[in-house]
């Protein structure tokens, strides 16, 4: 029922768009990519028009990554999805069969045109002298991070801390102890990254905010370098926000060629430059080298190597009764 309403509403919207004679793409993305895709869309529409003479309008939709995926499952007509974690696109493939299960193999770098990582944002001058993950479990340090069960982005935070604990103290049991100690230092569990930013920045709660690197840079740019600084931990996770064409929607709307070109353009020099300017790490080696000085040097590990992919990580840590739930059970 809900799916039907969403579909028909979107159909009406798109029909309205097509009445102008232009092709319309809908890019369903997650929260912090708003500025990135504003710039990228205008670059792409220019590129596409000069190449093919065809005018294309790209609409963007932003929200929590999981919520956006659910909208697509429920019938939001997204030509492409650009979400915060592969797991959310997997769910679209699994629950609604809108794209093949092996979608991640279709584009380079696991369908990840740009990456990021998890860093620590502290108050100016770093009053609690936070240098690395193990400083977060010290008594008297208040840590701000969203609930990994409601925030897809925050699952990267959790996994980064877990792997640090595992590598430093030896095994998964020790890692769990470490993460449990860390979350005992969390006074507020917001439901999303935006809420946590408000808690840390506006409410003044917490000494350290576990954040995506690109969002930490954005926060500093917007709020001023006189208030916060970034601490790079010794190791962290390579955050891989993935992109995919939603086959069934694109075929139905006849936009597959443009949708595929749109995503491939993310890998072009122009696309990579735009990503870098928005503080995402480019995957193109040449562009990455050009912007290398912008990003702190951190030893990065991949979720596939450390946790055997999202499916396993989710089942073990974030599903009901997983390690995160166990932390809070007495």
């Amino acid at each position: 029922m809900k799916a039907w309403i969403t579909t028909s509403l979107t159909a009406i919207l798109l029909w309205g768009g097509n009445a102008w004679g232009d092709k319309t793409l809908l890019n369903v993305s997650y929260d912090p990519t708003r500025e990135l895709y504003q710039q990228f869309n205008s670059a792409f529409t220019k590129h596409w028009e000069s190449k093919t003479g065809e005018k294309v309008a790209v609409k963007q939709s932003h929200g929590g990554s999981g919520k956006q995926a659910r909208s697509v499952i429920d019938g939001l007509d997204a030509d492409v999805v650009t979400l915060g974690l592969a797991k959310d696109i997997d769910e679209i493939a699994e629950k609604a069969s809108l794209l093949p299960a092996d979608w991640q193999k279709r584009l380079p770098h696991n369908s990840t045109p740009y990456t990021s990582t998890i860093v620590l944002l502290v108050r100016k001058g770093n009053p609690k002298n936070i240098k690395d993950w193990d400083d977060l479990v010290k008594p008297g340090v208040a840590v701000i991070t969203p609930n990994p069960k409601t925030s897809g982005g925050a699952r990267w935070n959790y996994l980064a801390a877990w792997e640090y604990g595992k590598r430093t103290y030896g095994d998964d049991a020790k890692a769990k102890e470490f993460v449990a100690k860390l979350y005992r230092n969390v006074p507020v569990l917001d439901s999303g990254a935006r809420g946590s930013t408000t808690t840390f920045v506006e409410r003044g709660i917490g000494d350290v905010f576990i954040s995506w690197e690109n969002e930490a840079f954005l926060a500093i740019r917007e709020l001023g370098p006189d208030k916060f600084e970034i601490v790079a931990p010794s190791i962290s996770i390579l955050a891989e926000p993935s992109v995919a064409v939603v086959d069934k929607v694109a075929d139905k709307k006849g936009t597959r060629t443009i949708a595929e070109a749109y995503l491939r353009y993310l890998y072009s020099d122009t696309g990579q430059e735009i990503a870098a300017k928005n503080f995402y790490r480019p995957t193109n080696a040449a562009i990455a080298a050009k912007y290398a000085s912008q990003f702190p040097r951190i030893k990065l590990f991949r979720i596939d190597d450390a946790f055997g992919g999202w499916k396993n990580a989710h089942k073990l840590h974030f599903a009901d009764g997983g390690t995160f739930d166990q932390i809070y059970q007495k």
């Binding site: 609930n147 507020v188 409410r203 003044g204 809070y328």
Partner: protein, 278 residues
């Protein structure tokens, strides 16, 4: 049968009833039954496991407890506000009257952010409360504050018209018959407005149970302590656990329905009692 065939003074009963049923079905029954259908994907033991875990039980206690407390406070102070707005004349009365509706109109997220800003440790109010050891924001007390805020207009707006209709002559008559002020209030005024207060209470209570937007910012959302049930529903949805989410929704629905039914019975009882005593 005979009474059924009799034509009412008002025409169009069949049409009106048909429309009412259709409208209620489209707007209320179908969405709710969708929740029940989704839940049916679970077996009974699975359902029980989902809705009876300690963390979920803690969230019921907070949701229903805080909603009940907030509605109770609103019933008392809302009555007071309605009384002042109806019985006294003072400059700025229209303005205050309009202010009462503000929690209706304000997006709940805005209310939540504003309240959190006020009650956080660095907020206008929070900075004076925290040294006293009173933490409001990011504790269950914050949930109560948010629910009180959003529930106020319901009591005021239901009691106000009843108070306005209450004739002053009744009180004068009570006074001439020797009743003191307390007696007049308890025996004459209160029975007349009690059903309206209960309605207001029920509305504020129901609203509070379903509230999400404003609470989520101020609650702190700590498992076992300050998580409300709607947040757990969202949590389950974030994990694509549609059946689990609707299972919780069904439990909330059933509890809310039973509570509202009890409140309605109470109202019916008080109304029949006050009319028989007149």
């Amino acid at each position: 049968m005979g009474t059924f065939r009799q034509h009412s003074v008002l025409p169009g009963f069949n049409l009106a009833l048909g429309f009412t049923l259709l409208y209620l079905s489209l707007m209320v029954l179908i969405p709710i039954s969708a929740a029940f259908v989704r839940t049916a994907e679970l077996t009974l033991p699975e359902f029980w496991n989902v809705v009876m875990t300690p963390r979920v039980l803690a969230s019921y206690r907070l949701t229903f407890g805080a909603s009940f407390a907030a509605a109770l406070v609103n019933a008392i102070f809302g009555l007071l506000v309605a009384w002042v707005l109806v019985r006294y004349h003072f400059p700025g009365k229209k303005l205050i009257d309009a202010l009462v509706d503000l929690p209706f109109a304000l997006p709940t997220a805005v209310a939540g952010i504003a309240l959190t800003a006020l009650y956080a440790g660095n907020g206008w109010i929070g900075q004076y409360l925290e040294p006293l050891g009173l933490k409001v924001a990011f504790t269950p007390a914050g949930v109560f504050v948010a629910l009180t805020f959003i529930g106020l207009p319901f009591v005021v707006r239901t009691v106000q018209p009843v108070l306005e209709d209450l004739e002053p002559e009744l009180e004068e008559a009570a006074a001439t018959l020797g009743a003191n002020r307390l007696q007049t209030f308890l025996r004459v005024i209160f029975p007349a407005i009690f059903p309206a207060v209960i309605t207001g209470f029920a509305l504020a209570f129901a609203r509070a149970i379903g509230e999400y937007g404003s609470v989520i910012f101020i609650a702190g959302n700590m498992p076992m302590i300050s998580e409300i049930t709607p947040l757990l529903i969202i949590t389950k949805l974030e994990q694509y656990d549609y059946a689990g989410a609707t299972a919780l929704a069904v439990v909330m629905l059933v509890i809310s329905f039973v509570l509202l039914l009890i409140i309605n019975l109470l109202q019916w009882w008080s109304r029949s009692r006050s009319s028989s005593s007149v």
